[in-house]
Symmetry: C3
Subunit: 347 residues, 3 copies
Amino acid sequence: MFPKNAWYVACTPDEIADKPLGRQICGERIVFYRGQGGKVAAVEDFCPHRGAPLSLGYVQDGNLVCGYHGLEMGCEGKTISMPAQRVRGFPCIRSYPVEERYGFIWVWPGDAKLAEPGQIHHLEWADNPAWAYGGGLYHIHCDYRLMIDNLMDLTHETYVHATSIGQKEIDEAPVTTKLEGEQVVTSRFMDNIIAPPFWREALRLNGLAHDVPVDRWQICRFNAPSHVMIEVGVAHAGKGGYHAEPADKVSSVVVDFITPETETSHWYFWGMARKFKPEDAELTRIIREGQGKIFGEDREMLERQQQNLLRHPERKLLMLNIDAGGVQSRRVIDRWIAQEGDAQEAA
Amino acid sequence: MFPKNAWYVACTPDEIADKPLGRQICGERIVFYRGQGGKVAAVEDFCPHRGAPLSLGYVQDGNLVCGYHGLEMGCEGKTISMPAQRVRGFPCIRSYPVEERYGFIWVWPGDAKLAEPGQIHHLEWADNPAWAYGGGLYHIHCDYRLMIDNLMDLTHETYVHATSIGQKEIDEAPVTTKLEGEQVVTSRFMDNIIAPPFWREALRLNGLAHDVPVDRWQICRFNAPSHVMIEVGVAHAGKGGYHAEPADKVSSVVVDFITPETETSHWYFWGMARKFKPEDAELTRIIREGQGKIFGEDREMLERQQQNLLRHPERKLLMLNIDAGGVQSRRVIDRWIAQEGDAQEAA
Amino acid sequence: MFPKNAWYVACTPDEIADKPLGRQICGERIVFYRGQGGKVAAVEDFCPHRGAPLSLGYVQDGNLVCGYHGLEMGCEGKTISMPAQRVRGFPCIRSYPVEERYGFIWVWPGDAKLAEPGQIHHLEWADNPAWAYGGGLYHIHCDYRLMIDNLMDLTHETYVHATSIGQKEIDEAPVTTKLEGEQVVTSRFMDNIIAPPFWREALRLNGLAHDVPVDRWQICRFNAPSHVMIEVGVAHAGKGGYHAEPADKVSSVVVDFITPETETSHWYFWGMARKFKPEDAELTRIIREGQGKIFGEDREMLERQQQNLLRHPERKLLMLNIDAGGVQSRRVIDRWIAQEGDAQEAA
């Protein structure tokens, strides 16, 4: 269950740099490519001639050419031409609203009439020279909501990421969850603790003392349909914590776009935006590598959790207060899905 | 959907040279082997004792011995003996009409009473010292009819085989499709063009000038149930094209036997028969290698086309005039299937 | 179809030495681990918090800690604690009777109230310094009963294991099957024959002449639910055969525990117990290696037999006198299953 009338991250520009990209989003098989003037386009990955996947073709003069028999498809899903054939009567295929913004390609897999680019989630750190971003993509075989649960309850760091960002104090610190409009915010503050390895290394790379007590924070923000941004950081203890001066802390935003593929699989775009040393490409590479390793640790747990849940659909999972972030996020998602159903019924 | 009362290519002699071969043809699991006097035999791949696959056994004195407990099976599907056991009452398993001809093993997976070896499609180039043949086998995961469509509409060469045999002039040349009895013939003639790489190389290997304009032809012949022979070639321009003297042209027959395995997979026996330099084994090897590479390019397109069609069974594919060859071929197949149904009903 | 009210071999101690082991037995997904005081425990592999597999966790102070969010599970399936959460109301998960005995971990996947450790099949050769044991584990994709059939009819050795323990005399020797209480015993005696390679080597390794005629025996004993012990050996011909003095023979017990995973897959614990040179670890290694190779030869035959049977559920397999061991064993199994059904109905 996922809302379809929503903007999802579909891919990154490098994935469509050389050739079209076929990708399933919310059950829709879509081909993404750069059409007229380099503008991103998205149509069904199904040639109206013989059903070949258009993603095996290529782009010529801004049109997508089917790699089987040369049908030229326009960005609106209307066939433009085909060598020596009349194409006027060809049925249209579906096209999808698609936007390039903040370094990502966003797609609206639902009712195109309702799509407004202004609804795309604003990323303050993007297109901003004071910030640097690095990230990657994992294909995960579980319901996208299990990943949202995962990210909205960071107690799992103590267990799944014990050697990098986990520490016992996460479990012990109280967690607060609140709703700010439709944004779910769940946060934890741990004062005067020893930083775990990932953060000690971040302090060191940022030129700060890394063997002294710190104040640590985690502020997870969920926005529908499935974006989770987590403000994370440590400051030298007693310097103001989250509000400390830049000279006393190292902080960043963990970025997670969780795009459903099917009911039990999703595309996980993960990354980190940071406001320190933004020009340091080697630092971006090091952080990206470390984060990629950490986020890979969740995969087996989530995929095997999914298998367990499929075997026991009758079991209600427990909802503890640590789960409040996920629970609230799912409520927002459910509301979006219900609204979508109401709108369809009305139409 | 495939006719079962028909002769299909099942395998090549080298595949049964050392041991039995288990292969599924038109939904039937069959074991092929050399029985009494080296004559080819085919029975169900199912031992009546405990259901073991007979193809894991071996041949002894012309009988197939089950590799599990030693049951000896006769070529007619009747158990001959079993160590220290009485076999008189053993149920028979099915045996299949099978013939070795033209360098292939042919099988009739349907009603054995109707099988006549004389119905095997005649191959004029086989068993003929003026011709040479080289080929191979691919296991393709799509409906065998998608491969027939592919071979009866060679406009795909321009796109799928752009670096070898494709060229824009194929799309631009008009295509003619006609029915000769039950044979579907679709042909294209391209005059005074530059030969694409595969044919330039063929001219060169045949000792002809290869950097001059040529006349090119493609004559595809479909015969039920699923054989496609394609006369292809180039002649120096203005020398008579298809009818040019041997000294002015290089020509051959692309050979395709397309044998259904299941509804969505088939065995694709491909090859090339040529009438020039038949004694040159190295040339045979070079052509076979090039053709194998070219025919491998169709696989991803066809298999992903199949996946798309399975997802959208309600969509009618377009039938353009370039598709006439495939459309007519499917009509012949449908007629064979209908006749088979009528015959079964009458019986 | 398998009895669930029975003791099955679940794993060996080395499999739970460092971390918990997740394994499916008779359709139940179970996690095995060493709990309080090193005593073996087994509970459902499903965390009541969010459905994560507990087998991805670790053991701390004798309790199983979930590797996702740190829930501590007790050996009885009752949650003990969770960091900063109240666990009193947590639903219990299932725990399974489990015993460590004879070098194996045994589990009772059925009704725990009926489990009595005294019912575990007695192994006279275990925990006995006069004997040595070596073995391994294979995961086989077929009904466990096909493996029982395999082991209760050793005529297959002649075909499947032709180069090691097979020989024509096995087929030719009469087989006797009888029921001793609930134990099915099927036996063969071959006098004054040439030993096959495996046994010639065993004679040599035991310091006996290996190029002289021998008397060979095979006594297969099935005990429900699925244990097959086979007394095998050769003695110098005319020295008393099975009853010969130790100085004139080499003998051992082939040990097979065949534990259902699903209806069409099982865990095959195979091994060999021997009463000669028990202290010779290198000899154990050599025998284990040879036996592992031999038992690997059955896999393809059994798995493809299973596929054939699934395709033809309507076909009755033949039951010859060589099959009597398997037939009688299945009757015992069917009786156990029927009794289990009666007991459930009564309750």
